[in-house]
Structure formats: structure tokens, C-alpha cells
Amino acid sequence: MVSIKNLHKKFGSQKVLDGLELEIKEKGIIAILGPNGSGKTTLIKSILGMVIPDKGTNKIDGKDIKNRWDYRQQLDYLPQIANFPGNLKVIELITMIKDLRGLPARDKELIDFFKIEHFLDKKLTKLSGGMKQKVNLVLCFMFDSPLIILDEPTSGLDPVSLLRLRKFIQQEKENGKTILITSHIMDFVEDVADRIIFLLEGKIYFDGTVNELKESTQEPDFEHAIAKLLTKEDV
């Protein structure tokens, strides 16, 4: 589905991605982990075409995405920080995105699922962080696309909504979708991820399942295993 070869990106003098190679063929949930500033968001944004890489190719479904936009019809994205135009009402925003895509959307079902119907008529500036994140989730999951990219989906959510989100992501996985997730909440990742990709300094430092990670670091606990990955680099 996604095939990335030799991806380089610099922001000024700061190297963010340094010859990254990534191949995603399978369905299921793939977690992208890494310390702050390791290039997770940049990687995601280059898949989306929002960041233009300096070097390397980025293919989705076998086609190079450079200077193309139509492939985003098959892709859903949840941004890390929900920046919405504040002068719109929630319902107006949802309708607008629906118009833009022109695809059948399951917004009613999702509005129900994330329990946002009571603030549909509010302006987006009036919403709290968690409420915005829920709107963000609804917008993202509205169009049944085969590839979903979630950048920190858990940020700002209360425990009840978090449980709901987990359930929903599992459900989407069973529907045969490919889901890319970045998150800092380790037990969430351990719970849902089929494959872990660990980024460090713009390269993939580890690629495998949760169990493989535990074996290779000889740590029974996932969180400690990740920590060990990080500290091993320092030695």
C-alpha cells in the first residue's frame, strides 16, 4: 500500500528524515513510535503530501504521489493539533468536508458514537480541546477509506472516550483497513498495534511486532522495552 524509499528531509539545517525506508503491505494497525522530534509527524505529512521531501520516492498503491492529489480520496488523516477555522459551526464544517469529498459519509453514525450531537450547533472556537478532538475524529473516520493515518488520536480525550476510540479502531481493523498511528501512550499502542516502527533520528531503528520487540530487548514489559531501545542508543 505504502512504499517509501530513501526519504530525506531537512528543515533548515536540521535533518529530520535521513534515508528512511518503509514498506507497508499488510492490513492492520501499525504504530509509529519515537522520541519527540524523531520525524514521526514529518513522515506522516510526507505521505500526505503536505511536506515535500528533498529526496526519495513515496508511493501509494504503486503510484508516485509527487504533485498529485487525487490519491488523498482514498486516505483519511487525523491531524495532531486540531486547527479548525473558528468561525464555523461544527455541523457546517462536517457538511463542508462532505461536499468536498463527494463520497457517501457515515457522519450520523459517528456523531452518535462519539456523542457530539449536543454541540453540533456551537462554533468551533467555543469548544474545549477534547471536544475538538472528537470533532476531529468524526471528520477523519467519516469516509470509510482503506488507509487511515492517525497522529496522536488520544490527545485530550477523557477515559470513556478513549475506550470508545479503542473499540472503534479495533472495529476498523476488523473491517480490513490499514491504520497508521503515532502515540505516546504506551499501553494503548501495546494493546492495539500489530506492528511497531520505531523512529530515531530520521531512520527506522526497529521494525517488528510487540513480541519481537520484547524479545530483542529482553524486557517483558513493553514500556521498559521501548525505554531500553532509547537508552541502548546512548551506550
Binding site: L48, I52, W69, D70, P79, F84, P85, G86
Partner: protein
């Protein structure tokens, strides 16, 4: 003002002075402000299946066209009410409107360019205002200084070219010539009349104005293709 002057021609001249200064300023400020204010919106749209150039050119035309409409309506309604259509000054007035429209398109495009190249809002605003100040005031000053400094040399070619490179000056000359008061334009007036008065001159100056719109637009399309968000 119309009633004070009791003459459409004088009203056109007075308005020209206002329009030539204010329209670029409004275009610049609105262009920059709109770009920075809709950044969140842009980010949202970029993740959707929409072409990049259509997002930004759409935003540009949204600003430029609404400014143009307000200019046409704001100027047109009072003049029409005063009986413009029966007056011989109608073509002078049309010229005023056309240059005003061009100035709106040019300066909002320039403002978008500045905003695209500057992430920092304050810097972007600063540069945009500086650009306006330069083209509206400083350019003329430099132009005059150079005329005085080099007055022993033949300057007609130079002043023609220098006028062409500033859309504000170009618009002013076009309106003044249309009003047939080029006698006011000091010693190069005759040269200007000779050049801009001919059909070649008007075509050249109009195409120069078109160029002033097209080049910044092309740069917007180019920059947008390479930019990271």
C-alpha cells in the same frame, strides 16, 4: 464631493488621488490578513483531495474579487446616482474603475506572495506595508530625485520605463492622459502623451498591468508547489 465640485471631471481627478493610494493599501492589507487568518482552513484543506494550486488561487480570487466588487459598487452607485451615464465623463470614470481593479488584483497578489514567503505574521505585515509605501511614495521620490540629478541628459526614455515598472505610477499616468490634462505633467508630459496616447502605448501599458497580475500569480502557484505545511 460630487455636489461640491458640480463637475464630474474634477470629481474623477480628486477620486483618482484617493484611489491610487488607498486601493493598493487595502488590497495589500486584506491580502496579507486573509492569508494569515485562513491558515487553519488551509491546513484542513491540504489533507483533503484538493489540488494545492486550486486551494491558494481560490483564496486569492476570493479576496481579490470581493475587493473588486466593493470598489465597483462603492464608486459606481454614487456616480450613477449623480447622472454619470448621461455625462461625457463616463469614459474617464471607466478608466478610473479599470485601473482601480487592476491595482486591487496586483496588490492582493503581491500581498499573497509576501505572506506565503513569511511564516511570521508580523514580518509579513511589515514587508507588505513597506512594499506599499515603496511603490506609492518612495518610488516617486527616487524617480524625481533621479530626474533632477540627471537633468542634463535626455530622460524621456528613462522616465517612460521607470513609470512602466510601478503599477501605481502607470495607473496614474493612464488616468491623467485619459482626462486630457497632460499639460500638467511638466516637461515629460509631451513625451508621455506621445507614447501613451497612441494605441501602441495603451496596449503596452495595459499589458504591463496584466503582467503585474500574472507574474505574482505564477509565483504563488510555483511557491505553493514546493512549500511544506
Amino acid at each position: 464631493m460630487l455636489f461640491l465640485n458640480n463637475d464630474l471631471n474634477t470629481a474623477v481627478i480628486t477620486l483618482m488621488n484617493v484611489i491610487i493610494m488607498l486601493v493598493p493599501l487595502i488590497g495589500t492589507i486584506f491580502g496579507v490578513m486573509y492569508y494569515y487568518n485562513s491558515r487553519e482552513f488551509t491546513e484542513l484543506l491540504l489533507a483533503q483531495p484538493v489540488k494545492r494550486s486550486s486551494i491558494f488561487l481560490g483564496q486569492y480570487f476570493g479576496v481579490a474579487i470581493s475587493l473588486s466588487i466593493s470598489l465597483v459598487l462603492g464608486l459606481g452607485i454614487p456616480f450613477a446616482a449623480y447622472g454619470l451615464f448621461k455625462s461625457p465623463a463616463i469614459w474617464d470614470f471607466v478608466m478610473l474603475l479599470v485601473t482601480g481593479l487592476f491595482l486591487t488584483l496586483i496588490f492582493s497578489a503581491l500581498a499573497f506572495n509576501i505572506a506565503l514567503s513569511n511564516e511570521n505574521k508580523i514580518k509579513g505585515f511589515g514587508y507588505a506595508i513597506l512594499l506599499w509605501l515603496f511603490l506609492a511614495v518612495i518610488y516617486d521620490g527616487l524617480f524625481l530625485l533621479s530626474l533632477v540629478y540627471f537633468q542634463e541628459y535626455p530622460l524621456d526614455k528613462f522616465s517612460l520605463v521607470a513609470t512602466m515598472f510601478n503599477p501605481i505610477d502607470l495607473s496614474r499616468i493612464l488616468i491623467l492622459l485619459k482626462l486630457d490634462i497632460s499639460a500638467l505633467l511638466s516637461y515629460t508630459g509631451a513625451v508621455f502623451k506621445q507614447f501613451f496616447g497612441t494605441s501602441f502605448g495603451s496596449i503596452a501599458s495595459i499589458s504591463m498591468l496584466v503582467l503585474w497580475v500574472v507574474l505574482p500569480l505564477l509565483r504563488i502557484a510555483y511557491v505553493v508547489r514546493k512549500k511544506d505545511f
